[in-house]
Amino acid sequence: MSTIARRTFLGTGLLAAGGAFLAPRLTFAAAAGDSRLIVVLMRGALDGLAAVPPHGDHDYAGLRAELAIAPPGGANGALPLDALFGLHPKLDFLHESYGAGELTVFHALATAYRERSHFDGQDVLENGSARAHALQSGWLNRALAAQPRERRGPGRELGVALGQNVPLVMRGPAAVASWSPSRLAALDEDTLQRLADLYAADPLLSQRLADALAADAIATAGSSASDGEGADGMLARDRGAARYGEVIHAAAAFLARDDGPRVAVFDTIGWDTHANEGGAQGQLGARLAALDAGLRTLKAQLGPAWGRTAIVMLTEFGRTAATNGTRGTDHGTATAAFLLGGAVRGGRVVADWPGLSSRALYQQRDLAPTLDARALLKGVLHEHLGIPERELDSSVFPESAAVRPLRDLFRA
């Protein structure tokens, strides 16, 4: 049997037992509607007060002590946004984007969740309701299902999840593709065909296999080999960095296509900085630098599609206003979020800032939330993807009629 590239195999289609022709399951919307959305989940509770330090708030430096970011101007000082806020000094690309009007920063933002469990917090962030484990699907998937008719078609997936498995935010009634980097050689055509036959009576497996093959063809089209053989490199950091790079490349590959998906999601980890968080330098700084560099690459690889792209970066909650006993911060409440992209009407900070005085802190420990994350998400989904408001208030974010969408987030 000849071993052929999966993308070539895909072109020949799949023959079911009995000879019936099964068209490849994974096809994407036609070019109607070219807005792209990427959702980046930052798991572990990103420290919004470090990513977007409120250097102009006179309580900030005392609370953060040796972790405080200096005001703009000094070495290791914040990158200036406005009189109150700056960006962490490692977020160079985000700062440039701000200057170019392609980044909007949101602060004192939180979901409706007020406890401090990562797992429940992420569940709320992704399920789109006000309660953990209330729903088994995610708001992004339900948004895809609610897309206006002209953007959809039978059997067409509009979304792709990049990573080993599909995160909750992308699970639900709308079919989505998934992809993650592979290390092994391609299978031969005959074996794949027999496997497809074996899975014919298994709805889960047959769908997954077909989707995987199609997604891989797209993601690796035109790529050069990335990280080398899967040897036993044990430092999590190295492998994480390689994976992140491949995910960035794949996101660009999928979304740059005229006939590709319009929505992608991936997640990043390592934001749970309980100990030795570091201020301008250190653990968090290094992660922010890596995130920032990946976003710069993403813009470069998206090419002309960048002009119609929006990237929303969200985390489940923030961290305590004061440092803890181990030079880090514990779980908090309100935090920062970012909206980045060529389509964004940026260059501003959206925050109803409550302050950091002990009276202003939520439960005397956390930045208090003044903006519901769903207001940002509704604004993005409505203005950028054309999801009708009544769907946003009902199916996409159940029981959220009181949360009004932010407006004018995008350029005309």
Binding site: L209, M234, G325
Partner: protein
């Protein structure tokens, strides 16, 4: 027909996958095969050459002490991190290899699975470099000896283990009114030291009561004060005393005084206070429900029914956490036996069952650990204290499936000529083997392809 389905359920869902001939041994009384494994002492690992975690950690402490003077210099920090990796990496590889080998070769695979279950319940993750070289020792020292004991003793052993204290940052947690806390407040106002709530929260949320167990933020804070001082021995900057790398109660860090947790007042001194709270948590009804739910999800189905959970929880409560009693109740339940192939295998379960079925040796450096990582489950690296998830939706993504198929293909090409997949299939799957798969194996184009198809068959992807 019924009996042989039960045999396959016993070997493949309760165990780690049948080895050739094992289904015949399990024979007509699969339940007895399982309960027999509960005798003969706790599940140990053949640990030739594995060092104690205290030994490894003592070396780390010495390394950090040697670099103490320059520790705020980031170049030194990087150097220390590199040396730490060089120290830890070979330990990690040996431990992960031994663990896999244990699961693949065990004659009591039910106990190996239970060990993995408890390690996952009390999860630490080696993506935090500080515990990369300790996770294996943690499982061997804190988990294994108590798998056939009581939940209370298991809980106490886990929360005292330096790997857990390090992972969740408790070893440097300082009570504000402790001796060290007061001294620091008087002297160095710019450097904040204080309580770290991480371990206390995860004990309540993940290890015992569960997220709906009825505790409040005040309980978390109070409990964090209770376990301040639960630390690690060895000289570490301003802290002195204790055997390096072993559990050490540092009285000077402990927040003094009585505390109230879950509406109960604890006025024990020192370490006894924490032990008392843990003992009460271990037998709390919410803990019984939490453990019963996880056990039922792991051994029965992704969404176990409430009656089964309640029945197991009652056994837990009545036995005050006697674990063999709980396991027997699980084995004696009707639900695990009502349907085969209810659970989608995790990558570790998939690889282990393949190695068992093919009787492959686990040899360090020959790619088994790399395969686990490629399949999406790097050993001891769940990424959070919640451990690896336990539902099909978490493991059955499209790209994850493709990885398994690709791996099956690689194994088929390498080993196919040395196996007869059509003959092997009923040995591994019993009567859960479908006619479709049996036919596909018989008519495969080659022996390698047949083996690939067996390893990628729906019946082999599930348990």
């Amino acid at each position: 027909m019924r009996a042989t389905i039960d045999a396959a359920i016993a070997t493949n869902r309760f165990g780690f996958g049948a080895r050739p001939g094992e289904l015949a041994t399990v024979g007509s009384d699969p339940r007895a095969w399982l309960t027999a494994q509960l005798t003969g002492g706790p599940p140990t690992l053949a640990d030739d050459g594995l060092r104690s975690s205290a030994d490894v950690l003592a070396e780390v402490i010495a390394l950090r002490r040697a670099n103490r003077a320059a520790e705020t210099d980031s170049a030194t920090q990087v150097r220390v991190a590199v040396k730490l990796g060089q120290l830890y990496r070979p330990v990690y590889v040996s431990e992960a290899t031994a663990r896999l080998r244990g699961a693949v070769t065990s004659e009591r695979p039910f106990l190996e699975r239970l060990t993995h279950f408890w390690t996952n319940h009390f999860a630490i993750s080696v993506d935090k470099l500080a515990v990369l070289g300790l996770a294996g020792g943690f499982e061997r020292e804190a988990i294994r000896p108590h798998v056939l004991g009581s939940f209370t003793e298991l809980l106490l052993a886990v929360e005292r283990h330096p790997a857990m204290l390090l992972y969740l940052d408790n070893h440097l947690s300082v009570g504000p009114n402790s001796i060290l806390g007061q001294r620091a407040a008087r002297r160095r106002r710019d450097v904040r030291i204080g309580i770290n709530e991480n371990l206390a929260r995860e004990i309540l949320e993940l290890h015992t009561l569960g997220v709906d167990g009825g505790y409040t933020q005040a309980d978390v804070t109070a409990f964090a004060h209770v376990i301040s001082g639960w630390s690690i021995g060895g000289d570490n900057g301003r802290l002195r005393g204790g055997d390096p790398g072993q559990f050490y109660f540092r009285a000077e860090l402990h927040e003094p005084g009585a505390k109230t947790v879950l509406s109960r007042r604890y006025d024990e001194p020192g370490i006894e206070q924490g032990e008392a709270v843990l003992r009460d948590l271990a037998v709390h009804p919410a803990t019984a429900h939490h453990i019963a739910t996880k056990l039922a999800r792991h051994f029965i189905a992704d969404e176990p029914d409430a009656a089964t959970i309640e029945r197991l929880a009652r056994v837990f409560r009545d036995g005050r956490g006697d674990l063999p009693m709980l396991y027997r109740a699980l084995i004696d339940s009707r639900e695990p036996w009502s349907q085969p192939l209810t659970k989608y295998k995790t990558p570790c379960e998939y690889l282990t069952s393949a190695y068992r079925g093919l009787q492959l040796p686990v040899i360090q450096g020959q790619g088994a650990l790399a395969a686990l990582e490629l399949l999406g489950q790097r050993t001891y690296s769940p990424g959070s204290p919640a451990g690896w998830p336990d539902r099909a939706a978490d493991w059955s993504g499209a790209s994850a499936l493709l990885k398994r198929v690709e791996w099956a293909d690689a194994v088929g090409q390498r080993l196919g000529d040395q196996r007869d997949a059509a003959e092997l299939a009923p040995q591994l799957l019993g009567t859960t083997l479908t006619g479709t798969t049996r036919t596909a194996l018989k008519h495969a184009a080659s022996a390698p392809q047949a083996l690939t198809l067996l390893l990628a068959a729906p019946e082999f992807l599930r348990r």
